[in-house]
Symmetry: C2
């Protein structure tokens, strides 16, 4: 099988090709700043690096360049784009409708589109990508894999806000959670690494990237997660504020006359590490400045880590115990300092880190265990691979679909 | 000393008289629905019950009735209102200015008034009460005791939101916390009951009333608390939603065209237990309905308790351990079911409840220990007494003030 995984953003196209028979043919590519001047495509694989100018504007142009790069004469990984056997699409919001990955047909497209009010920035552009891909690959199955689906198992006491119940029933206001592919991937990978079954472990997974979320996975099922109705709730992120007293927004409207669009912008693009530090939303920059003695950068760092620590505590309480903590994504994999500070004082919950191992686990492709040998809770650094998870889901759904069609044909 | 404690609301006046020489003279009184038809005053004390019609409108009328009741011929507790030696005022918001109770002078009044943007519903009416009381008792010291002051010890990583730092510096947007007098009172009372010093304990205090908040008290100092910039953040309350994705408000504005005032109203008056259950914001009603099999009431109850549980976990993480959990206020003192459900699964943090003791501890005036004898963490039910704490603070500040004046006069 050759599975193409597509992650379509408003001004970017990211893709990964997986070849189940030839793992060395895995290729990653991205086109950034679609619609701007001088758009470029970059693709990397064991066969070499492809760089090309994207001539045609819009997502159609990006798709064309992708096809050309994949089948590139010397550095390509396919003979022809018709070698692709399935396409997996990352879709941000599946609402309550999609609790699992699905084969895409016209109705599914319409339903994803109908969820736009819940994810105005993401679902419409995901649909754009699906439409374009179905045009380009009309003969293969397309599968939608939702960021929210892994969290479909949340119990109502975890997904309900304290709002009138009708806001949940009629308007769908509830905690959905995101980063599902990442949380489920690393939880599975950690269990395998520990030679345990995911189904017998209580896991807390900390996905700390530009977007950051944390998830309680109880015997294989997501039971709580820090992102909520939107991906803005929970942890402090690169530029998003995370948890906030809802009274702050009405204060800003009342006293500053700020319009709600401006407030949205403030909370999502000017807050988080960037807002607190005043330096950058990039953790490496913040750490550098903190090391150099910048007080606000240090405060930003501490506030970030403290919030992770509190969430870990609350999820231990939610599950009534804990077996594994996982760190993943850029910051989780890259920053030993953040990991140590987030876990500080948690020996009372059975979490003991081995600082030597922690320092060594930075940026590699391997899974590392960073807890002390006698730590009741195992702590792991696990490189995330959302694309691989999407590819797996795509294959799983595709073969199930084939089975169903076959059995219906009998 | 005879200390009058005043809690002045927009349509109510509550007061308590403490007589340090004659504890039997303690009297509680309240005037509700000031400005409505047929306003009544009710006062209770060991000397009997006083009920009277409040003839004059407004807070001035309520104060007059209070004076008459306190010096009531047969059921009064004072010979004359001039017997009062100090007045303590509950003030909701002290901002960053007031980290301690203070003797009130004109400047203090002006400063409390200047904090109105932070507490538009409370501070102006608190000032009204102060003005009236100073007019009526011009010769005695008046002391302002702030709900926020106990939380002045929060470290910056606990009080900062993930917003641009200028919003904190210039506009005072931060976590303040409330219910300070209650949290500090019960923490002190619990330590005394356990014959320990507050200064050597890590305490989590759960104030569960119509308003509800939870506080981490590390060696006597508040280090985190669930109410934030406003008293609307944190736990699910009678009619307030508590923690909420800030994205929900912009969703409601965008898709429902709801104005921010309407949203404020929704989140503060129609949410919480009332909104979730659809029955009542009163926990007794919700429990009754849940017992009778009402599914939504049961969901409301579970969601309420689950959130308390998560906060307990996060504060154990914040303090790196725990010695004492306290339940107080109407629900905390009255509902064994809520206490048991909030602590469910927390044996992993050393919290073991004795269900028999828990069932017995309901509504009494005494402190009860409800943890199992072998529980590493002690769990206590402690009747709160914010008025007594305000009286104590009033005395403390008054005598300090006398000392300072005396030493300045030397
Ligand atoms: N070695 C490192 N140390 C600290 N932070 C790192 C390191 N490498 C990457 N990061 C941080 O990770 C974040 C990006 O994470 P990533 O998972 O790539 O984000 P995204 O959510 O966009 O996928 C940035 O804040 C970056 O500074
Ligand atoms: N025995 C009880 N069982 C359960 N809930 C109770 C009990 N007694 C009082 N309550 C609840 O306590 C809440 C009021 O608490 P209280 O501390 O009086 O509120 P306030 O915050 O107004 O001071 C109400 O929800 C009420 O139903």
């Amino acid at each position: 099988e050759r599975i193409l995984v597509i992650n379509c953003g408003s001004s970017s196209l990211k893709y990964t090709l997986f070849d189940t028979e030839r793992p060395e043919n895995t290729a990653h590519g991205h086109v950034e700043r679609i619609d701007a001047e001088g758009t470029k495509l970059v693709q990397t694989s064991a066969r070499g690096r492809v760089e090309s100018d994207v001539k045609e504007r819009g997502h159609a142009g990006a798709f064309k360049s992708m096809l050309a790069a994949l089948a590139h004469e010397s550095h390509g990984v396919l003979k022809s784009s018709s070698d692709i056997t399935a396409v997996g699409h990352r879709v941000v919001h599946g609402g309550e409708k999609f609790t699992n990955a699905v084969v895409i047909d016209d109705q599914v497209v319409a339903e994803i589109e109908a969820l736009a009010p819940l994810a105005p920035l993401h679902n419409p552009v995901n649909v754009l990508g699906i439409r374009e891909a179905r045009r380009v690959f009309p003969k293969v199955p397309h599968v939608a894999v939702f960021d929210t689906a892994f969290h479909a198992t949340l119990p109502s006491h975890a997904y309900l806000y304290g709002l009138p119940y009708s806001y949940y029933e009629e308007k769908g206001v509830r905690r959905y959670g995101f980063h599902g592919s990442s949380h489920s991937y690393v939880a599975l990978a950690a269990a395998q690494h520990l030679r345990r079954r995911a189904r017998e472990l209580r896991v807390i997974s900390c996905h700390l990237g530009n977007g950051a979320s944390i998830c309680a996975i109880d015997h294989g099922r997501s039971v709580d997660t820090s992102m909520g109705f939107t991906p803005g709730e929970g942890l402090i992120m690169g530029t998003r504020c995370g948890d906030l007293d809802a009274g702050v927004t009405s204060f800003l409207e009342r006293t500053e006359g700020m319009a709600s669009k401006l407030i949205d912008d403030l909370l999502n693009k000017k807050s988080g590490l960037l807002g607190l530090s005043g330096i950058s939303g990039d953790m490496r920059e913040v750490e550098k400045a903190a090391d150099a003695g910048d007080a606000r950068a240090l405060t930003a760092l501490k506030t970030f880590c403290y919030r992770v620590r509190k969430y870990i505590g609350s999820y231990v309480a939610a599950m009534g115990g804990l077996d594994v903590v996982i760190f993943t994504a850029g910051i989780g994999q890259g920053s030993a300092g953040v990991r140590a500070s987030a876990l500080q004082g948690l020996a009372c919950m059975g979490i003991k880190i081995d600082e030597g191992k922690n320092r060594l686990a930075t940026g590699g492709k391997e899974i590392s265990i960073i807890s002390a040998d006698d730590s009741p809770v195992k702590v792991l650094v696990v490189p995330t691979d959302e694309e691989r998870m999407i590819a797996r889901e795509t294959l799983r759904v595709k073969s199930r679909d084939v089975l169903v069609s076959a059995s219906e044909a009998c």
